[in-house]
Symmetry: C2
Subunit: 169 residues, 2 copies
């Protein structure tokens, strides 16, 4: 069971980035996301709406980062450019069954580095918490997440070489 | 040589998403990004600034999507949820040396699906062009991009188990 914790959401400014974090968590096989920072019903509803239409079980919650990390029974993995390269740690992390993947916002409190069991870097270059999350989950599941099924979907893509096709179920 | 084309940038609304696309392209081994849509000097400067500080060669340009796709001598790969699953096509695509990776904005013109040599889906679920780009490049380079060096960097992360350390060179 993989949960994602998104740190320090800010109303307005972070709406799309935080939405993408939620959608990536869901699409790449996590079972839920917890948002901390500003409470943003509209942003969270946009993630829930996707689950309602595209299926699968995926929880979307709001909570404080401290209580989320403290109460999590499992391994806490913080994705940060300052951490140890993913290629050195992923085999070890993959053995853990219950993981909280913590993804940063603009400013990450220094405590997080110490509350986490692992601080892991997806490249040592500045880029995007969204891509870091996607690549981490892809590495963790070793590509099996690409075959994941989403039961109860109302919408489903029919893959095409050219063009777009969506099936309504 | 991998270039990225970001479609349909919109001033204001897409600034952070398009910045993340540029930074992910750079961090995961592409050699440049072309932005189309609204011309946005500030956004493009923020991507150039990262290259200036963190090293490597990475071009950031503005152009129309049509001329960029038409003039590209190589294989055009459009990342779209409507395409063929990446796991079915990546071995074939990996044999190509020069690739233009096209990533969508909010609305992608129907022409793109026909101008591209491949339409490829990174999961058949709605999520994020940023994560799709990161996972595509990670799959293309098979993780070698994680070891990429960025010559001429002024800043470099010193990986740590706990905490943050940046070396100024």
């Amino acid at each position: 069971m993989i949960k994602v914790l998104r740190l320090g959401h800010r109303l307005g400014r972070d709406a799309r980035i935080s939405t993408h974090c939620g959608l990536v968590a869901r699409a790449f096989g996590a079972s839920g996301i917890v948002y901390s920072g500003d409470r943003d019903k509209k942003m969270m509803d946009s993630v829930k709406k996707v689950t309602g239409e595209w299926g699968g079980k995926f929880s979307v919650k709001y909570s404080s980062f401290k209580s989320t990390i403290k109460n999590f029974k499992g391994t806490k993995v913080h994705l940060t450019v300052y951490g140890i390269p993913i290629q050195k740690k992923i085999n070890e992390v993959r053995k853990k069954r219950d993981i909280l993947v913590i993804v940063g916002g603009e400013k990450v409190s220094g405590e997080i580095y110490h509350m986490a069991d692992y601080n892991i870097a997806v490249t040592g270059q500045p880029h995007s918490e969204i891509a870091a999350l996607g690549v981490f989950l892809h590495e963790y599941f070793q590509g099996r997440e690409l075959e994941k099924r989403f039961p109860g979907a109302k919408l489903k893509v029919v893959p095409l070489d050219k063009g777009k096709k969506i099936k309504r179920i």
